[in-house]
Symmetry: C2
DNA sequence: TTGAAAGCGATACCAC
DNA sequence: GTGGTATCGCTTTCAA
């Protein structure tokens, strides 16, 4: 049976209230007593009991704020599902999750939203935002004030966040190369359609892809690299024009959104032998895989990212951050028609 | 704020004790009062509070028993890791997990072990055992006495178990075929090395594989189908002999254990173009993938199976089984060198 | 600066 | 049959 506050109190010859004060580093406690009690607690291996803690804490509600640039970007729907699953699982414990919806990756828009969140009195935050100095600074003031922040899906290392929850973009890119190497040993003429050159994850996927091609000894040429801003219309037009002027293209690496657009161009031009390398499991991509137009896609468990992000915040509050939270890297998932 | 027993008691004009009795269908309660209280609880939308429940339940310890034929079978190590993760996560709630280790799939050995477990006073059990009538009956007496049972990794439908937690074997087989179809379009001459013809999961993988080959319009011949009993020495010898007398073989479908043995035979005979279709993520398989001798393997998230199995038992106890537990089917995972 | 006591929600047990 | 009360572990007053 685990050690309780009551037992520590008895052992130290003080009251439970005092032990509680010591354990939470509250003020107004005799330093000598504090030291002694702390030592005793450590020695006895005290671990707070969640159920007791939660029950007592029920008087004040816990609110988490989750920021997401999801407007117009269906990828994030699954992340939201994860936030909601965590919320419903923690409902008993008085946890509520607010989701703040943003459109796109404009720095100022993100800064304004984060500033607003900082004053909203959240007990913790999940942030999916840009990794730029201005935003790092903004987050730092939040974390420094004792409010835990988890970076979800895309990391902001220098911000005091307790951990990153998301995918390994480099590995995802390498995996795409690995799959390509299983399918074909021939020299590849590749068109790269990126989302944005400003987003680190996108660049890392490309980097991982190239590394992977080299590791697998796949000879290749990059015919062109373009930006489609996760927009299917842009992606369609760009892909179409390039395909027309480059009949030698054998594969298209679509880094983020925009897969359906590229796929449409390929279909229209009847370039059926082209291999499309896709990411994530959006409905349109799944459909294309079922049709056979795309062979596979590389997923990143977005639902689990949302879920784990909120759970990490909650654990941090429960354990008072004593456990240095380490990053949580979701699996790099390969989906073909048969295992969807 | 959620409805509590106290509130229901006040609304019904009875004591909390009575409400508690009604909610648990205990005896010694006036049917009229019972009906009225139950109705009120439903109408007010009462959902028991986990934290309160757990705290109160702490007085009596919860012990789960988990049966596993893991001796000599490294696959189950990950399942055990999952059991242990669940145990440590539920430690606060007074949960202990006992693991009962068995060797092989001898019916009588399993029956004896299950009988012994039945008398051990467990609050719930996870069972990985054989789906035969004698065992079904044994389990049924346990479930009928009110003790929840979860079938883990391999299902026992007619046993009163609350749910199955494990993989979809058919889908796993189809996925192997799907991957094969990405790699090669040529007619396949296939050797099938099964674990045991007695184990349903193994047969299902074969069935799924054949279905998949047909769906993907891969022409094929089954050169031979043998049983290797998850033993690498058997697997090595069988594979070796058949490869020698059948130079036409293009691929080997190894249903369960025994992959390292088959791989050794292929390597020794320098039949490097043969495609080995493997399952699970054992260290030796991972090694072979890294070496490039095997292209991929199909996993089933064994750790998650163990974890979820125990968690399901716990939830069932907490919610009094009001929620009909549905099966939990783990993902069919494709692993290549790059995403391991 | 500290102790004592109330209370969070659910359960168990003892009276009546 | 039913009500009252102590209890689980922890937090938070309110006195002292």
């Amino acid at each position: 049976m685990a050690v309780t506050i009551k037992e520590i109190a008895a052992a130290a010859g003080v009251s439970r209230g005092t032990v509680d004060r010591v354990l939470h580093n509250r003020k107004d406690v005799n330093p000598d007593v504090a030291r002694q009690v702390q030592e005793l607690a450590d020695r006895m291996g005290y671990i707070p009991n969640r159920a007791g803690k939660i029950l007592a804490a029920r008087k004040q509600q816990i609110r988490f704020g989750c920021l997401l640039p999801d407007l117009g970007n269906p990828f994030f729907e699954k992340v939201i599902d994860g936030f909601k699953r965590a919320e419903s699982e923690l409902k008993d414990y008085g946890v509520t999750v607010d989701i703040i919806h943003l459109r796109g990756f404009t720095v100022q828009v993100h800064i304004d939203a984060i500033k607003k969140m900082a004053t909203a009195g959240y007990s913790g935050m999940c942030l999916t935002t840009l990794d730029v100095p201005e935003i790092q600074k903004e987050i730092y003031t939040i974390t420094h004030s004792g409010v835990p922040v988890v970076s979800v899906n895309t990391d902001i290392p220098d911000s005091g966040r307790i951990c990153y929850v998301g995918t390994d973009y480099i590995k995802a890119g390498r995996t795409a190369a690995g799959m390509l190497s299983l399918i074909s040993k021939e020299r590849q003429k590749i068109l790269i359609v990126s989302g944005s050159f400003q987003i680190r994850g996108h660049n890392e996927r490309i980097k991982g892809f190239k590394t992977g091609l080299e590791e697998h000894k796949i000879a290749y040429d990059i015919v062109d690299t373009v930006e489609a801003f996760d927009d299917n219309e842009d992606s369609y037009k760009l892909t179409r024009d390039i395909l027309i002027s480059h009949s030698e293209i054998t594969s298209i690496f679509v880094v983020a959104g925009g897969v359906p657009g590229a796929y449409r161009a390929v279909k229209e031009l009847q370039r059926n032998t082209i291999i499309i390398l896709a990411f994530d499991e959006l409905p349109e991509i799944k459909q294309a895989i079922k049709e056979g137009g795309i062979g596979f896609t590389i997923g990143q468990e977005p639902e689990l990212q949302g879920y784990t992000g909120v759970m990490r915040l909650f654990s941090w509050l429960m354990e008072e951050g004593k456990n240095q939270s380490h990053d949580y890297i979701t699996q790099t998932i390969i989906k073909i028609a048969d295992n969807m």
